[in-house]
Symmetry: C2
Subunit: 97 residues, 2 copies
DNA sequence: TAGATAGTTTGATAAATATCTAATTATCTA
DNA sequence: TAGATAATTAGATATTTATCAAACTATCTA
């Protein structure tokens, strides 16, 4: 279910924009929301999807919830991509679904 | 729309399995379908999604339609991933959506 | 402690998607 | 050319998803 949730999370332009914003620095939910026109409820939904895919982490700081990018997923994604595209060797089999 | 269709195409386990099958060698629609339990109509739908994302190519050989992996998308995907995760430099901006 | 502020959760709805069966198209061969 | 085979397209349905408004939770501060 992890590869599944990862690609589904990445398959939405708003969520990719969130990730790009978090590349520079961690940001609170409100700071992120300021870059979008959809409601904060909808933003929360996207935060949840990204968290479920382990693409972001959250920490409360007082009234704010601060989100940060989990860069370690980058490695996972790379591995998945190799699994999908790399010419396979004799007897090699995939773990992924 | 291209990044969009790419991730959406990859967000389905049946479609990822199709790509993995095509890593080794090109295969006809029927040969691919033999590895699945869903109907051939459903398989055709998945082929269409993968073709729209430019992940596979198709060529008719007599009665068969032979599908092959388009490995050049691997590079596109790598670029998109860097855009999403790589720490950005001063004044740098993304082209993606 | 009573607002005010930041954010999430709930419930509803419209749009997208995966699947199926049935019908259609393209090609081969007897 | 008629039937058989390979595959796709069309139409229908159930599930998932993105979004919103409203209600709720957590924290701060006067």
């Amino acid at each position: 279910m992890s590869t599944e949730s990862l690609f589904k999370a990445l398959a939405d332009p708003n969520r990719r924009k969130i990730l790009r914003l978090l590349k520079k620095t961690s940001l609170s939910a409100g700071e992120i929301a300021d870059h979008f026109t959809i409601t904060r409820a909808s933003m929360s939904h996207h935060f949840n999807v990204l968290k479920s895919a382990d693409l972001i982490r959250s920490n409360r700081h007082g009234q704010n919830i601060v989100y940060s990018l989990n860069v370690s997923v980058f490695e996972d994604l790379a591995a998945i991509m190799f699994d999908l595209f790399k010419p396979s060797l004799k007897g090699e089999n995939s773990n992924e679904d």
